[in-house]
């Protein structure tokens, strides 16, 4: 059973003081959602690598974590920034090699039917739109929290979620053509 927000606060204090066992408890409690989020945003192949990077950065930055946001949203924001930095590096490399731009994360083959269409619909979204949709509709974050994680104005975030849902719906209704 993952610790609740109060449990997280205590574990954060202990981990910030160098208690690795406390940090392991935090990892246990939050790895499921972080990896699921990063899998949707970056693809399953990169999700674990990004999640590891995010946890390591969280460990290093814990002494500066003031606790004004939930640990889970702070961690998610770190994961998002790891993804953004990765895309920035990839874009630089691609420019150098004159490769085609990436169109989205690779998704593992899904069983036939509507599920595969929605997976493709999500892959066609802009990464920020996809992240906004996953955070708000999949992970239960409020618009305010999701805007904080993605560092977007609240209005922009709300518009992105609306547009992302509409795009997915349009794609499904067009039978994925």
């Amino acid at each position: 059973m993952p610790p609740g927000p109060d449990g997280d606060a205590l574990l954060c204090r202990r981990a910030a003081a160098g208690d690795r066992a406390a940090f392991s408890r935090l990892v246990e409690g939050h790895e499921r959602k972080l990896r699921a989020f990063l899998a949707h945003v970056a693809g399953r192949e990169l999700a674990d690598e990004l999640a590891q990077e995010a946890f390591l950065k969280a460990w290093q930055a814990l002494p500066t974590f003031r606790g004004d946001a939930r640990f889970s949203s702070w961690l998610c924001a770190i994961g998002w920034r790891c993804f953004v930095d990765l895309k920035r590096r990839e874009r630089s490399e691609q420019r150098r090699r004159d490769a085609a731009a990436a169109t989205g994360p690779e998704h593992e083959p899904s069983p036939p039917g509507e599920r595969i269409d929605l997976s493709r619909a999500l892959a066609r979204l802009d990464p920020v739109e996809r992240a906004a949709l996953v955070l708000c509709e999949g992970h239960g974050w409020s618009h305010t929290e999701a805007a904080g994680i993605l560092r977007l104005p609240l209005g922009t975030l709300k518009g992105m979620v609306r547009r992302a849902k509409q795009k997915c719906r349009d794609y499904l209704e067009s039978d994925g053509r």
Binding site: P2, G18, R20, F23, S24, V27, E28, G29, E31, R32, K33, R35, A36, F37, H40, D48, A51, Q52, F55, L56, W59, Q60, E114, R115, L118, S119, L122, L133, V134, E137, G138, H139, K165, C168, R169, L172, E173
Partner: protein, 107 residues
């Protein structure tokens, strides 16, 4: 497709499935954290040792430089500069070894 069907489909796709903690992943993170902590400690220790040695040597060299300005010492150095130079270098070596805490190196 009506709105509620779409919402249900969307949630099925993007809500993270319930499962127990992935122990292998947690162990992987713990290992990475341990490595990072070891590296940070090692770097801090190296910097501390280096700073100590630099300060120690600077003190010895500074002290010798001041001592060389004393009238009697200056005359002695002027008379036998090679011996004075050798004595200075040996003193610096002795001081460095003492600072590093390896007196057995003198044997």
């Amino acid at each position: 497709m009506n709105e509620s069907d779409f919402e249900a489909l969307l949630r099925q796709e993007i809500v993270p499935p319930e499962r127990p903690p992935d122990r292998a992943f947690v162990a992987r993170i713990d290992s990475a954290v341990a490595q990072e902590a070891w590296f940070r400690e090692w770097r801090a220790r190296i910097l501390r040792e280096l700073s100590g040695e630099v300060l120690g040597l600077a003190s010895v060299v500074g002290a010798l430089a001041f001592a060389a300005r004393a009238p009697g010492v200056r005359e002695a150095i002027g008379g036998a500069p090679e011996l004075a130079g050798t004595a200075v270098l040996l003193l610096i070596l002795l001081a460095w070894l003492l600072i590093r805490g390896k007196p057995d190196a003198l044997a």
